[in-house]
């Protein structure tokens, strides 16, 4: 049977466990031990989505990571580990091998910390041989909240003594009422700490399609401001590169919504904050460009780097460049302008008043904006062929992004089926355009890197390695361009046009 977890209400008496098991077995009580454990996951719940639970458990001198995956438990030492931490910082172990592909570039964060007072009961036979270990954990959430958590009972039969484990379990479940089995101790701790596993830290607003368009727009813009604030600390602490990526997405989405719906806001405010968010977006670009380049060199990107050697000096050079760009970004974000941006923006949004008699409701406005955005894409795509210059394709890509932010921001008011179809076609198109844009940026960066490293006396091997990377990226460009026309045709098709027209239909 392996180890089995039973949970009882927080008020359950540990003495009752002892009394119940003593009716059938000789029970030896080990001394009580105090410890704590932390639930670990990434900010976007990648372990949860991969059906894994990871804890860092500390008890006396013993510190261990415990991973539950596919019904199996894996352990590894966690001594001297501090959090947050990325996969490459985990000790070499089966845990790292399983966790690394699931979390990718994201860092593991301690999402809930629990203080535990544990008592182990040894269930003995007539020879005083231990047959089952029953661990009883009285748990409380650590920190100011200090909420009591369910009493956790772990029934672990020793190998070869499964029937005794089952007997102990049934004795306990008959004498006491366990909590329903679908929620485990980690999930209770997460809930007490205010987390909903799987849910993003900032939940997108659910918009009322009949509300005035201005009010919905401010809700959407407020959401993106919340995202910027939520990831700000992660960007400053450089917890992982996705914090910056999310901030850039939120900034771009804000700017995009201002372009599409800014006319609904007071004129002066709209243009002022468009400039402010452009400033913030530009600041983040240098770090992100280096992040993408480093991902490629680590083999985590789209570029095939197999067989290319002597890349270490290139990585080292990029890492130096990143440190410098991050310093600049931090200074700007910590400046009065950087600190006050979202606060002032939120104050401004708070002053926006809904018209007494709304001229258009949210659904109509969102549907009209989607139609406009679609027409703009089709117009920009009209001249596209396999040799269209990258700059022109970049313009097309920006228009696609605008439409994407619109579809994401107003998702709750669009008719679901056409929204899904349109989003699918748009994503495919964006992927192709993204590949072409990445290659274009890469080529410029690689040329710049080659010049810079040659000036610093890099060896011929390193310059040749950069040349090999450039060749590979050109191959990727050719493949993406071949796909682009196919995706454009799909996007221009009668089905996609019909989906655009149907976006504003009443979902009910």
């Amino acid at each position: 049977m392996g180890q089995h977890e039973l949970l009882f209400g927080a008020a359950a008496d540990p003495g009752h466990i002892f009394a119940t098991l003593s009716t059938r077995y000789q029970v030896h009580v080990e001394p009580t031990v105090d410890g704590r454990w932390m639930c670990l996951d990434t900010a976007d719940w990648r372990l949860h989505r991969a059906n894994m639970t990871l804890r860092d458990s500390r008890e006396g001198r013993r510190a261990q990571l415990v991973l539950s995956a596919d019904g199996n438990n894996f352990t590894a030492s966690s001594s001297r580990l501090a959090w947050p931490r990325r996969a490459e910082g985990l000790p070499a172990s089966a845990i790292r091998d399983l966790v690394a592909p699931a979390i990718g570039v994201r860092a593991l964060l301690p999402l809930a910390e629990v203080n535990v007072r544990s008592m182990t009961l040894r269930i003995l036979d007539n020879d005083e041989k231990t047959r089952v270990r029953v661990r009883v954990d009285q748990q409380r959430l650590a920190g100011a909240n200090n909420a009591p958590l369910p009493l956790r009972v772990l029934v672990t039969p020793l190998r070869g003594y499964d029937p005794d484990g089952l007997r102990c379990e049934s004795l306990l479940t008959e004498a006491m009422t366990p909590l329903p089995g679908e929620t485990n101790a980690a999930e209770f701790a997460m809930a007490a700490a205010g987390h909903v596993p799987g849910q993003p830290p900032v939940v997108p607003p659910h918009l009322d399609p009949n509300r005035s368009a201005v009010e919905s727009l401010t809700d959407v813009l407020r959401h993106w401001a919340d995202v910027i604030d939520a990831v700000r600390a992660g960007v400053l602490a450089d917890v992982d590169i996705e914090y910056l990526h999310e901030m850039r997405t939120a900034v771009r989405a804000t700017r995009s919504m201002l372009t599409l719906g800014g006319h609904l806001l007071p004129v002066g405010d709209s243009s002022r904050f468009a400039d402010e968010f452009r400033w913030l977006g530009k600041l983040t670009a240098s770090v992100r460009d280096v992040d993408v380049a480093l991902l490629e060199l680590e083999g985590r990107g789209e570029l095939d780097i197999s067989g290319i050697e002597h890349l270490e000096p290139v990585q080292a050079h990029l890492a130096t460049r990143r440190r410098s760009a991050l310093r600049t970004l931090r200074t700007a974000m910590e400046s009065p302008r950087g600190r006050s941006l979202t606060g002032e923006w939120r104050d401004t949004l708070g002053k926006v008043e809904a018209p007494e008699v709304p001229d258009t409701n949210t659904r109509e406005t969102a549907a009209e904006q989607a139609r406009v955005a679609y027409r703009r894409i089709i117009k920009a795509a009209g001249e596209v062929h396999t040799d269209t210059p990258a700059d022109d394709l970049h313009r097309l890509r920006r228009r696609c992004k605008r439409m994407r932010y619109l579809l994401d921001g107003y998702e709750s008011v669009y008719a679901p089926v056409p929204h899904r179809e349109l989003l699918g076609a748009l994503k495919k198109l964006q992927d192709c355009l993204g590949d072409i844009q990445d290659v274009d940026v890469q080529r410029a960066e690689l040329a710049d890197l080659a010049t810079s490293l040659t000036r610093r006396g890099a060896s011929t091997d390193v310059v040749l390695a950069i040349g090999a990377l450039r060749d590979r990226s050109l191959r990727r460009d050719t493949a993406a361009r071949a796909k682009l026309l196919r995706q454009l045709n799909r996007f221009r098709s009668a089905e996609t046009r019909a989906a655009v027209r149907a976006l504003g239909a009443d979902a009910a």
């Binding site: 005083e128 041989k129 231990t130």
Partner: protein
């Protein structure tokens, strides 16, 4: 997975106490350890308070008609499992003789456990038999306790010859067991034999009542007397047994 056999042609030389203590110490070092009590007297099994019986009969394990995993019992000590003795092991020679590969059957039985354990300790019965041939085939290292007496040293020579004739030759490491420093012969042999042979451990296990008390406490010495001289010596002996052949996971 490393396999360590406690073996000597002679009985009563400290095989079981060494097997129990080394297995316990290895598990305490974090190595996933299995102790297989091959001796029908079941002394190791008794120390760990396990019933000396394999469900369905030991011959089914030996004939591989029953998966070995199902016969394993957890001990009270984390990371240490036991394959208990069974009284039918008194006929193990006959059981092995019936197998398709009579001299490598134990090796084959242990094969499925390769990923489950870092160390397997074999507590062998005293004899020269088909069981011994199987032990030599299965073990990477044979640890052989020697009481510092002339006759006991002679058995080490016999074992050396036996290994020399075997197809698969494990490392042999003899060590002095039940050493009584008050006896002149013991002192002389402990000093002289290592000068003549390179396969003698520098660690010696003293004769101590604390080792005999294992059967009373039904636990390994380092568990109930961690500061005792015997516990320290077993720890050093484990270092020597694993030296040059570190356990890999």
């Amino acid at each position: 997975m490393k396999t360590l056999a406690l073996y000597n042609i002679k009985g009563g030389v400290g095989k079981t106490s060494t097997a129990v203590n080394l297995a316990y110490l290895a598990s305490r070092r974090g190595h996933r350890t299995l102790l297989w009590d091959l001796d029908p007297q079941a002394a190791s099994t008794y120390v760990f308070r396990v019933k000396p019986r394999v469900k369905g009969g030991g011959e089914r394990v030996v004939s591989r008609s029953k998966p070995i995993e199902s016969a394993i019992k957890g001990t009270d000590f984390e990371g240490l499992d036991l394959l208990p003795a069974d009284f039918t092991y008194r006929h193990m020679d006959l059981m092995l003789d019936d197998a398709k590969h009579p001299t490598s059957q134990l090796h084959r039985i242990l094969e499925p456990l390769r990923d489950d354990y870092d160390l397997i300790v074999l507590d062998c019965p005293p004899s020269v038999s088909l069981v011994s041939e199987n032990v030599l085939r299965a073990a990477g290292t044979v640890l052989s306790p020697i009481i510092p007496t002339t006759l006991s040293v002679r058995t080490l020579d016999q074992l050396t010859d036996f290994i020399a004739d075997a197809k698969h030759r494990p490392n042999l490491l003899g060590f002095f067991s039940m050493v009584d420093r008050r006896k002149r012969l013991h002192r002389e042999l402990v000093e002289e034999l290592p000068l003549k042979r390179s396969d003698i451990a520098t660690t010696t296990i003293p004769t101590q009542s604390i080792i005999e008390q294992m059967a009373t406490h039904r636990a390994p010495v380092p568990y109930f007397a961690p500061r005792s001289l015997a516990a320290k010596r077993y720890d050093l002996l484990l270092d020597e047994a694993l030296a040059g052949h570190p356990i890999e996971r």
